[in-house]
Amino acid sequence: MEPIEEYEDENSLELPAEPMRLNMGPSHPAMHGTIRMVLDLDGEIIRNVDVQPGYLHRGFEKSCERGTWSQVYPYADRLNYVSPMLNNVGFSLAVEKLLGIEVPERCQVYRVILGELSRITDHLTCNGAMAMELGAFTPFLWMIKVRDWIWDILEAETGARMTHSFGRIGGMAKPPRPQLKDDIRAILPQVERVLTESEALLIRNRIFIDRVANVGKLSQKDALSLGITGPMLRATGLEVDVRKDNPYSGYETYDFEIPVGHQGDTYDRFMVRLEEVRQSCRILQQAIDRLADDGPINVSDPRVILPEKEAVYHTIEATIAHFKIVMEGVKPPAGEVYSYTEGGNGELGFFIVSDGSGTPYRVRCRPPSFINLKAAEVFLRGEMIADIVPAFGSVNMIGGECDR
């Protein structure tokens, strides 16, 4: 509803008014974990917002310095915990870049499969949670239902529903199961069905559109200067995706598109994520057709990959190799390297510094959520309090990645 003309100029009302400071968080239902926002309000309009992250700072970077290179995987999993395989693959690629090795093709396809499954869960969770906070509880339940089915597949593959810790330097922990292809072929139509059903409920819904369209607009120039990447940047209209610009793990051989938005508002971000789920399904379809039924999964380098258990029990060379890798750790050459992949929220980079020993000297995670979160200060100015809920939900701030 448009305001009546004569009340548009607040000064004419002659009511005393001063800005109010309101605190949202750190424990707040719409804060997706823990973020504190201190709002300077003028009535319902936000004049200034001070976003304060850090309530989930768990010391990822410091903890990595006290173990071996392989002991980083559990910590890396818990960075973007809705899409843990993407973090695993990202870190594996970083150390492999430093070592200068490349994994066999079967492993690359396997990584793509598990990574895209994780990406689907990430986008479904984000969109589902955003819809739920606007009052649409049903799409959330449907998306969680499908997410549980995907987690069943991942559990059968990796042993855990979330936080798999399945990546290894130079490969994966175990080869794919024979039933993986059938499982994925069975789930892809279900994902498509849930997307169609949720769209039917949401994207032509007057209430939903009113709450998300033209809310939280971000311009391309602002986005680039802030360092935004991922679905938030694609929603502003720029076609930037690490999988297309700097392909890794064989992404250049898959046929998929990058959905882009028009004006960078919350609706665009929602739709970009929805479309990306469809594109991920497309990639999965191609990948499982391509996955070989046999062949090596790991690089056959004994300095990097643990030897077979049978060999460890029966030969001394394998025992020694196993001992050295476990006790001293994989030893990449001294140097630093920055390797980046497309995470659920954007460019997930790992800047690793090695001093030649088995312990990492520095593992820096370039966190897409943290850098994307600064945009909230920019696009929330001038919006109303109720707009924070969908706009902030569309940033997909994952606390583990933002605060590390």
Partner: protein
Amino acid sequence: MGEVTAVLGGGQSGFATSKFDALLGWARKYSLFQYPFVTACCGMEHMATAGARYDIERFGAGAPRFSPRQSDLLWVVGTITQKQAPALKRIYEQMTDPKYVIAFGTCASCGGFYDNYTTVPGIDKVIPVDVFIPGCPPRPEAVLDALILLQEKIQNGDRDPVVSAPRPVSPLVQIGLKPTDNT
């Protein structure tokens, strides 16, 4: 911030002292209003427990109230950092009696593997806890088991902390009990 006040409604050891207490326990245990204090990865399993497959609603514990004044079960889900600890303590103190606390996940129970400068090693260092759920993250089945455990404790008026562990059908697993032949 001063001492955490003692909790009313139930003795230290417990059995329901009267039929009225039993009725009160029954009413409380099947109508728990939760305050989901969700921080980290365990929040995903919390969502899954609230989803259609595991459905915590059928236990009566599905209604989240985002105000501490209106809730009686504080789910501390995920890692609590030193920065977050004052907020957690404040939320607990703002809840009205009788109130119960579930420490969901290893990070909330004991700090998990984040043994560093920034993590509180278990929320029982900050607030009293009724049930600990180990797991990183715990499976929704473990969460439901912990909820049933809590419901049994509420019925009995028991306030000793317990850990939700795989167990045969009753008896309650408690810290301090000697192991018997059938456990």
